[in-house]
Symmetry: C2
Subunit: 264 residues, 2 copies
């Protein structure tokens, strides 16, 4: 299990006060599948069992039907590359690339995050919010989703200022809910810098990538972040808050935007 | 909220017995974004606020930076098509298509499900399982995830027979966990027909699509299905079980595979 989990420091805020501790978060790792020397796809996954992931993905896509079609599978765990060669050198890529389907869980980040080649511009914002204000927003957020309350089948996302929810959307896809928030902001001229993004979903690097595009200084999730989203939030100067519910939360990065006084 | 929710009949099994009732599930709908007459992407989403979804997606992808770049957005809600024209006729598609990133939530179904053009071959299986056996498997499944228990940041999936879990995987992506299960089965010759797929994640049409590829007759989720996944399971003759936890479950389709005797 070790390489799937990373220990990170957090500040935990509750109504009683603040503690500093270490928690475990899931690792998120980009893996590229190369089929017959053609780069097919890069997926964000847990860095384990990449051979099975590649074989299962190719099977789910209908690109291979049985084990006999596979000549070899080479896994480079460190670089995150799986090379699959088939017995017949299928010309699959074109057909595959001509169809793009983004499923309910998706959203596809603007690009695969790579610290080395990303031109990092830190998000400048002097926004400060108190834990009490976040608890209140999270509470309102969790009770705001009509579709969730009736179906338990959707995610939600919202843009907030310190005091209230400004836009709120639900969707079967957690990334779609965030895109709907930012789409409305874009089309209706609602500013996003110096505002907070709230999401019901787990935070992965793709969610942080969307926030970076809109200069969001603070992301609050009811769920938890991956290690890669934490590194990325650190790099871009975004305050990442997770596990926000029932009067408690963990702050993973850039805690200068969280007021020391609970109710400030 | 109406067009985001659908009422469906279910059989609810608890340790006390069976009731027949109607529940609400979230709707899932394919929406295609066409940018400057080039089909860019099809995404599975909740059928509402498609204009915002399209604008937000294009912004998240870095394809548009401001409202001023957009000449017009036309939404065909019934067909699920959003046409976006930009002021400058950007030649974006090629660059976009050359990069494929599948994010943590993803998995991309083999193809977009369309009853009209799908060559439907019903899954033939005489597998029968009792509610008691499913409760036991679900209980074991929920306690089997080390990484989840320490991080709350991953999904899990498993292949089971009536009595036990045969393969079990975790991943930050809910589709990746399923692909890992099926990849192992493919590479190691583990049969999947007459077996049960268990998942911690919500069931959308893409999850059903993966099960269809491997002739799985029964899918059990700890979470809930969308309306499209229910229709698809019906079409392919798959038994869909949701909300399976703590000695209760809902059966959405093909209940002939669920034994009437709780403990059978």
């Amino acid at each position: 299990m070790n390489n799937q989990v990373e220990k990170v420091p957090v500040f935990r805020f509750t109504k009683e006060g603040t503690t500093s501790l270490e928690v475990e978060v899931a690792r998120e790792f980009p893996v590229t599948i190369i089929l017959n020397n053609v780069e097919l796809v890069t997926m964000l996954c847990s860095p384990k069992d990449m051979k099975y992931l590649a074989a299962g993905f190719l099977s789910s896509e209908g690109l291979i039907k049985s084990k006999d079609e596979i000549k070899k599978i080479l896994v480079d765990e460190r670089r995150g590359v799986v090379r699959v060669d088939t017995v017949e050198d299928k010309a699959l890529a074109e057909d595959f690339f001509s169809k793009r389907l983004i499923t309910t869980g998706c959203g596809r980040g603007a690009s695969f995050y790579n610290t080395a080649d990303a031109a990092i511009k830190k998000i400048e914002s002097t926004m400060v919010i108190s834990p009490g204000e976040i608890f209140k927003l999270a509470d309102e957020f969790q009770h705001g989703s009509e579709v969730y309350l009736s179906t338990h089948g959707v995610h939600s996302a919202a843009l907030c200022d310190r005091k209230k929810i400004l836009t709120f959307f639900e969707d079967v896809g957690r990334h779609n809910a965030i895109d709907k928030v930012f789409g409305k902001c874009l089309l209706e001229g609602i500013p996003t810098s110096d505002h907070l993004l709230m999401t019901s979903g787990r935070i992965s690097s793709d969610s942080v990538s969307k926030a970076v595009q809109r200069s969001i200084p603070i992301i609050v999730s009811i769920a938890v972040p991956t290690d890669l989203s934490i590194r990325m939030a650190n790099d871009f100067g975004i305050t990442l808050v997770g596990h926000a519910a029932s009067g408690r939360m963990n702050v993973y990065t850039c805690n200068q935007r969280i007021a020391r006084d609970i109710k400030a």
